[in-house]
């Protein structure tokens, strides 16, 4: 019999019952909640007069709607100008209070983007099944966990039953061999993967990221990569547990301590694919060939190395793809065969659950240090992923570096990643963004998003257009 993959092991560990119809009841260890996808689930519970199964598995924090300027945040919920946003954040507080759910409220030091808060607090741990009503829940898989995004009906289902009804996915291994070049980051790796397999390449699969590049990658880098597994179509992305994982988890607030820690580690050590495990699909990339990436279109698969040129629809034989390229060029205001380096930008956004951890802040700060934002760039905002990231960054003086370079230093939240708060692009503006989606209108009506790494976003903010950060000298 072939060995098991990491996903097989995590799945087997959590099956409560296998049903005849091919579905299974899967136990959920941790449920993370934010304000946007939960109100209707709580309402559903109330209407059906149901109680949550296990309140102590849930942790909540508001992130999508919270304002990010200090002035607005100073007065907490009262400082949210938009009345509908305010109601949504208040509703989360009310629901959590009524049911006794642990919540990191708007001005709690531990508040932040759900997918940043989970790992950094130790609420998310190796070996867990984790869900959240948010597609980027795949992020937590970096810890060696099975972590998937769910819809609101499923949020209600998990609240009421502690289980999810699911069918096992297929196994895919994405292996990146070799070593990354200097200035090439985890964000570039995942964009290159999506460029290769496409936004539907991982549909129906759980992706395990393996190979030398991931073995050498920091935990924060792995979180960035797993975050975007969903952009490759996979509900779950994951990385095997190793010493990097254990060092990261150790001493986190909610991580087990003492004897429980030893007991946990003894189990977590098995959380890797067996050497004879069988994958349904294997994709291999050479890490040494990956260059800094920039997305040019309106889907994350429309991505190119920094020295690339925008495609010409005339060269595309497939009619649906051709129409897609034409539509993207029009929306993005780009010409066929235009060089990526010639795209001028209006705004910079450094943040989101993809790239708002301390290493991201450091990477961006290293590029802007001693330099000045281009005057043609209207605004460059840096939004840490959580209160704790912000605190750490400030302790290292990163905020001062950003401000001295003409970048704004903000309060934690999703911010311009999806523009549910006041941070957004104007019609037609180009943005160098460290977020994960370049969909039409995502960052504001008519806004044009280019997905890049924090270092590349910072570099674009300095140059006023995309530039290979590796050519900027000492970074």
């Amino acid at each position: 019999m072939a060995g098991k993959t990491l996903y097989d092991k995590l799945w087997d560990l959590h099956v409560v019952s296998q049903r005849d119809d091919g579905s299974a009841l899967v136990y959920i260890d941790r449920h993370i909640i934010h304000e946007v996808t939960s109100p209707q689930a709580f309402e559903g519970l109330r209407l059906a007069k149901r109680k949550p199964w296990r309140v102590d598995s849930v942790v909540a924090t508001p992130d999508h709607n919270v304002p990010t300027t200090r002035a607005e945040r100073a007065s907490g919920i009262a400082g949210i100008a938009d009345p509908t946003s305010k109601i949504q954040v208040q509703t989360l507080d009310d629901n959590c209070e009524a049911l006794g759910i642990l919540e990191f409220k708007i001005n709690d030091q531990r508040q932040g983007i759900v997918h940043v808060v989970g790992p950094e607090s130790g609420a998310c741990l190796p070996g867990m099944t984790i869900v959240c009503g948010d597609s980027h829940t795949s992020t937590n898989g970096a810890l060696g966990a099975l972590s998937i995004g769910i819809g609101t009906s499923e949020v209600e289902h998990v609240l009421a039953t502690q289980c999810l009804v699911a069918k096992k996915m297929k196994n895919m291994l994405v292996r990146v061999d070799g070593e990354l070049g200097l200035g090439v980051t985890p964000k570039d790796v995942v964009l290159a993967i999506i460029g290769k397999i496409g936004t539907a390449g991982g549909t129906g699969y759980a992706i395990e990221f393996g190979g030398d590049v991931f073995k050498a990658m920091t935990m924060e880098g792995r979180l960035t990569v797993c975050n975007m597994a969903i952009e490759a179509g996979a509900r779950a992305g994951m990385v095997a547990v190793d010493a990097t994982t254990l060092n990261y988890v150790k001493n986190k607030t909610f991580a087990p301590k003492g004897e429980a820690w030893d007991m946990a580690v003894a189990q977590w050590r098995h959380l890797h694919s067996d050497s004879d495990a069988k994958f349904d699909e294997v994709v291999v990339l050479n890490g040494a060939l990956i260059e800094p990436q920039v997305s040019w279109g309106t889907s994350p698969e429309m991505v190119l190395p920094i020295h690339g040129v925008v495609p010409n629809p005339a060269n595309e034989a497939d009619e649906v793809k051709k129409a897609g390229i034409e539509r993207a060029l029009k929306y993005m205001g780009l010409k066929a065969e235009q060089a990526i380096c010639d795209i001028r930008i209006d705004r910079v956004f450094i943040g989101s659950c993809t790239n708002s951890r301390i290493e991201d802040m450091r990477a961006a700060a290293a590029v802007v240090k001693g330099r000045q934002k281009a005057t043609s760039v209207k605004e460059a905002i840096v939004v840490p992923g959580s209160g704790l990231v912000k605190q750490q960054a400030e302790a290292e003086g990163l905020d001062k570096i950003f401000v001295a370079a003409g970048f704004e230093w903000r309060e934690p939240g999703c911010s311009m990643c999806l523009a549910m708060n006041a941070d957004r692009l104007n019609d037609g503006e180009h943005c160098a963004s460290t977020s994960n989606r370049n969909f039409e209108g995502r960052q504001g009506y008519g806004g044009r998003t280019h997905l890049v790494s924090p270092a590349m976003a910072a570099a674009a903010g300095i140059a006023g257009h995309f530039i290979d950060v590796r050519t900027m000298g000492e970074v």
Partner: protein, 215 residues
């Protein structure tokens, strides 16, 4: 949940691949704490010429005359015909809520994104996967024939064309079962409450750290 058994309706197109859920219902409408009210803003950025907002009444907003679902001939469409990877991106269930309220009961495409696919079933909408060439054919027939209608029969797992030709599709047994019966899935799961409790008890012994969160 509303059951789905059989449905006959007018077919309307979104003729593009990779339609994401941001496009189906833009973020500014997600601030609602209700499950309803999203229909008039389904495909907001494609459908109207101006920017929509939850505060703005939709009556009288300028419609985009280029957007097919605004064409006279597709008014009242209840079966959406579209391209690969429909519903990719955000997990927002507001997307199926919006489509449902718009009037769509079934969606036909060569492939769907996983989370969206799942969310449809929870809301009584049937997403149907048909092979690329068949979808292509349906597009051609729909464009050629005004008032093109299809019948979707979940029990038999077929889409029936006006010619009477039946196109078979796959659907998971458990999803079919729930949809046909309009089951409350939570109720179904809770029938296994004993098993869940037994699992929990066993896990408490082997992995106690999972059970004292926040303590």
């Amino acid at each position: 949940m509303r059951a789905f058994t059989q449905h006959t309706g007018l077919v309307g197109p979104i003729d593009r691949a990779n339609v994401d859920t941001d496009l189906i219902i833009p973020k500014q409408f997600l601030k609602s704490i209700k499950r309803s009210g999203f229909g008039p803003n389904a495909f907001d950025e494609l459908r109207y010429l101006d920017e929509g907002s939850p505060e703005k009444p939709n009556d009288g907003r300028p419609l985009n005359p280029q957007f097919p679902l605004n064409f006279e001939r597709y008014q009242g469409a209840s079966i959406l015909l579209t391209r690969k990877n429909f519903g990719c991106g955000s997990s927002r269930e507001h997307a199926p809520w919006a489509l449902d309220e718009y009037g769509f009961r079934a969606i036909i495409a060569p492939s769907f994104a996983d989370i969206f696919f799942n969310n449809c079933f929870k809301n009584g909408i049937l997403p149907i996967v048909l092979p690329d060439d068949i979808v292509e054919q349906l597009f051609a027939e729909m464009y050629a024939q005004e008032g093109y209608r299809l019948t979707v029969d979940l029990e038999r797992q077929v889409v029936v064309k006006p010619s009477g030709e039946a196109l078979a599709f796959e659907v998971d047994e458990f999803r079919k079962h729930c949809l046909l019966n309009g089951f409350d899935e939570i109720g179904v799961t809770l029938r296994d409450a004993d098993k869940i409790t037994a699992y929990e008890q066993a896990r408490k012994k082997t992995a106690p750290w999972l059970f004292n969160f926040g303590a």
